[in-house]
Amino acid sequence: MSTAVHRTGFGSALDIERIKRDFPILDQKIHGHKLVYLDSAATSQKPRAVIDALVRYYERDNANIHRGVHTLSVRATEAHDEARETVRCFIQAASADEIIFVRSATEAINLVAETYGRANVAEGDEVLITAMEHHSNIVPWQMLCDEKHAHLRVAPINNAGELEIDAFAKLLSPRTRIVAVTHVSNALGTVNPLRKIVQLAHAHDVPVLVDGAQAVPHLPVDVQAIGCDFYAFSGHKVYGPTGIGVLYGKEEILAEMPPYQGGGDMISSVTFEKTTYNVVPYKFEAGTPDIAGAIGLGAALEYICKLGMDKIAAHEQDLLAYATEKVGAIAGVHLIGTARERAGVLSFVMDSVHPHDLGTILDREGVAIRTGHHCAQPVMDRFGIAATARASFAVYNTREDVDALVEGIRKAQEVFA
């Protein structure tokens, strides 16, 4: 029930061992070692509540939505609507009509580029992004700029991985048509000063899209307080299933935007001469959606809201500080991304061990991390490296997990000594 969603939980601190038990996958051994999952920035694990919601839906309620008068269709439709309301509450949108279900944050950004972007960006115009974006917040804009003969402008970052806000402000021009910026960098962990960014962009009447894929698992998000025009995130990084994502858009902007794909559900009436489009959000949701995915995402958000986003954020900040101290203290390890405000991820390189070799050695110790360019090659280029090792944290991680990482790093150093 959406009304059961609270943004803060009860009690003082989270019982992480109990929370760990909510995630069945964590209870297993990898190569004889207890699984230590430090790759939640790639995808988070799923609590029993989400797995159960999917099973319950397919076992009891599965039917197509908005189509039938029969009981199952009514149940499925209601559950899907409830999930939309849960998402609205989770990001504090003004109306559930501002919540569009998509496949992923990637699809959400593509949707905006292909609809809002195509309608508003013309030859010689500019799209402004930052140097810390994930490929999914670069390539859709590049494609749009190529098509329209517009220019992609990139605001620089400093050596700590922070946005150079003065340079960003200078890049806003009378030709800027949209700003697209990440909330939290997936490769560096940097938290961007969104309110300042939105304030600067809005002073030029430029709308702002925020890629929130790496933010929603870690921080309480209030889209109205941020003031952004679009906010995109994926379900699977926030304890939900893969295949479901969310685009938030301000209702007045969504209403003006042309539709994305054509098909069922996005129309009010069709003749061979003319089609009248449905209202938002349905205008952007052609075809049978991922009903189970939306319901699973709703269950995930209810689960973390019950724990309390403030408490999750505090727990993860503690872990990140601990990991920064412990990993940063190892001789021959260099942290990449040392912004004052960070969340979720710790990226690093080593003098004697390539990230890939570290990843393999850690895996044999049961420790799962991500190694590579993290779909952020321009970030790697900025720091003059090909890849980093990235440990990322979720609510189910503990200081012991960080200790296992540190021990694994030392083992790798021994192998390559």
Partner: protein, 152 residues
């Protein structure tokens, strides 16, 4: 180290990764190609001095993990002096070795490179081991490749 890990990171592999041989561009190089592994961002350039059909001189440069550096280093030693056809055949055998397709390959022409047999237990690392070989193949085909060859 566990046995499988020990099989992967054999002493000779570690040694080559730390001090790769032929890590340079030979001045006489008349063929070259760039290799790229989009999964990890690793890059490799192979330079060859072809004398007719024969690999007269060979070198490589780039950044990569221990497996890819050692593989590139040992590959340059192995194919130097070989013909194009011989080099291509060695790649085939090496590929079978690291993908675990052909046990017999261990005893065939690969010699010291048989130490890469341990890679077959680590499917995620096969592309690290084959990056230099893909690049070699590309360099053998063209005098100067414009587009980097990809492991994908």
């Amino acid at each position: 180290m566990t046995t499988e890990l020990g099989d992967l990171y054999q002493e000779v592999i570690l040694e080559h990764s730390k001090a790769p041989r032929n890590f340079r561009r030979p001045v006489s190089a008349n063929h070259e190609a760039q290799g790229y592994n989009p999964l990890c961002g690793d890059r490799c350039t192979v330079y060859i001095d072809m004398d007719g059909d024969k690999i007269n001189e060979i070198g490589f440069q780039g950044s990569g993990c221990a497996i890819s550096r050692a593989s590139a280093s040992m590959m340059t030693q192995m194919v130097k002096g070989k013909t194009k056809a011989e080099a291509v055949k060695l790649f085939e055998q090496f590929h079978n070795l690291v993908t675990g397709k052909d046990e017999a390959a261990r005893t065939a022409d690969l010699g010291k490179m048989a130490v890469f047999g341990g890679v077959s237990k680590f499917p995620a690392r096969v592309k690290c081991a084959t990056l230099a070989w893909h690049t070699l193949q590309s360099a053998l085909e063209d005098e100067k490749k414009q587009e980097p060859v990809s492991t994908e």
